[in-house]
Symmetry: C2
Subunit: 243 residues, 2 copies
DNA sequence: CGTATGATTGATGTAGATCAAACATTGTGG
DNA sequence: CCACAATGTTTGATCTACATCAATCATACG
């Protein structure tokens, strides 16, 4: 439903190119090269894994539409979602470089990804400096996100974690133009949110309710509204751009 | 003291080049280009900051000897150390790409770094595919480390966090050949360890003692010994190479 | 020697986990 | 179109891992 709208508004691969271009100033040729990489498009349904920790990486995925999560499991089956991928994000490039993936990845809702052959991408990156720069820039962005996640889990209270995460997601959504009329589609269940924030499901639920009660966020069904990001950012110790 | 030994055994820049070469197969020319980047060498004394969160990044640092930490602060002054940098590691490249640094960095002991002009490095990377590949590989490695840290903080118990972290450090130390006769130099205070593991100082101390008591680790003054990494890895849910 | 800095110990408090239901909402097949 | 199964959310009661507070105890160093 909402999904379809998003797809319709973002022609294949555009999100990716737009993001890369935003930083890297690709030449015509590089743009075409990048575009040509986007040959196979996979559709992955909610909950399905498309990358497994420890596995050899042969394909790198570029999210075209939908949300994905990267996660790790402990030996006793607990799950930690390390970071969320939104349209334009690249999944598995690190793993392609290092050989095996350090995480698993699954779809949080109906997901559409461009699957690129790892070797082919690697070669393209080597020969196209702009593309290499763009990939490095993307990796740097992912590191910022992971570092934020470390701060959340290590030193923020449950309430702050929720607020901080919502800020981050809200900002990222706005960056890829996925907030329409002040409303965003938010497909994560509270269970997934809990596994992202390193909290229990119950506690996540209560903290979320607390934020709703004071009107800092609205979240019903999968519609998210953050009326005033600045206030939530303040509460959650979120530093970084608010748009 | 121990520091000097390490320096003596690792001529300037070697650690960096060795690590890059380990993966990236630099050509003669690229090797020289990389070596030429290492012009200014700074010595930073224990506790001193050399990079500040939010600040514009003009220099990228390559650790030649010593340990460094990257950390973030919360508004109420709590510190979260996000990851540790060892010889061969690069600090600030992400920040150079994105403009400002997403973290602060400080020396954990007497530190020697090669300071490279960010723009110059950026240009060198663009023109040397091998170097670009090496930087990407390094960024990927940092990614893995951050993801491990997220898992630790989000889903491991205090005891597991300590064990997991010690495994990771032990493995990394061995990778850069910093374990001599089964003994490593470990310059972190328990306070810094606590801020890395997202625990209180007191609790960190107790968990560490527990590991010492059962003989899984030895740590006195700053000499660390891990007699059997595999066992510690098992306890701490550490996945990944044990050497 | 005294003064920092770091490590250790003990007592107490609490944020958040866990357990166990009940309650909504959605989709599905008869 | 309705029962009902499945998935997700909410609530309440209880428990515990870890934080916090407050000393005391090393160790090094000027």
């Amino acid at each position: 439903m909402k999904q379809n709208v998003a797809v319709a508004r973002q022609p294949r691969g555009r999100a990716f190119l737009t993001r890369l271009r935003g930083f890297a100033e690709l030449t015509e040729e590089e743009g075409r090269a990048a575009e040509n990489l986007l040959h196979r498009v996979d559709t992955i349904s909610r909950g399905a894994d498309f990358l497994t920790e420890g596995q050899t990486v042969t394909d790198v995925f570029i999210v075209l539409s939908g949300w994905a999560m990267r996660y790790c499991l402990t030996s006793d089956g607990r799950r930690q979602i390390t970071n969320i991928a939104l349209p334009g994000d690249i999944i598995g490039y690190n793993g392609a470089l290092l050989g095996t993936s350090s995480f698993s990845a699954a779809a949080l809702n109906q997901l559409s990804v461009a699957a690129v052959d790892a070797g082919q991408l690697s070669r393209a990156v080597s020969s196209q400096p702009g593309l290499s720069r763009a990939m490095a820039w993307h990796a740097a962005g992912e590191n910022v996100g992971l570092r934020n996640q470390v701060l959340r889990l290590g030193r923020l209270t449950a309430e702050q974690r929720v607020a901080h995460f919502i800020c981050e997601i809200w900002v990222r959504l706005s960056q890829v133009d996925m907030i329409e009329m002040g409303v965003a589609h938010f497909p994560m269940t509270q269970s997934e949110l809990a596994d992202t924030l390193g909290l229990s499901l119950v506690h996540t639920n209560r903290q979320l309710q607390a934020l709703k009660k004071v009107g800092l966020v609205t979240l019903q069904r999968d519609r998210l509204v953050v009326p005033d990001v600045a206030v939530v950012a303040e509460l959650g110790n979120y530093k970084g751009p608010l748009s």
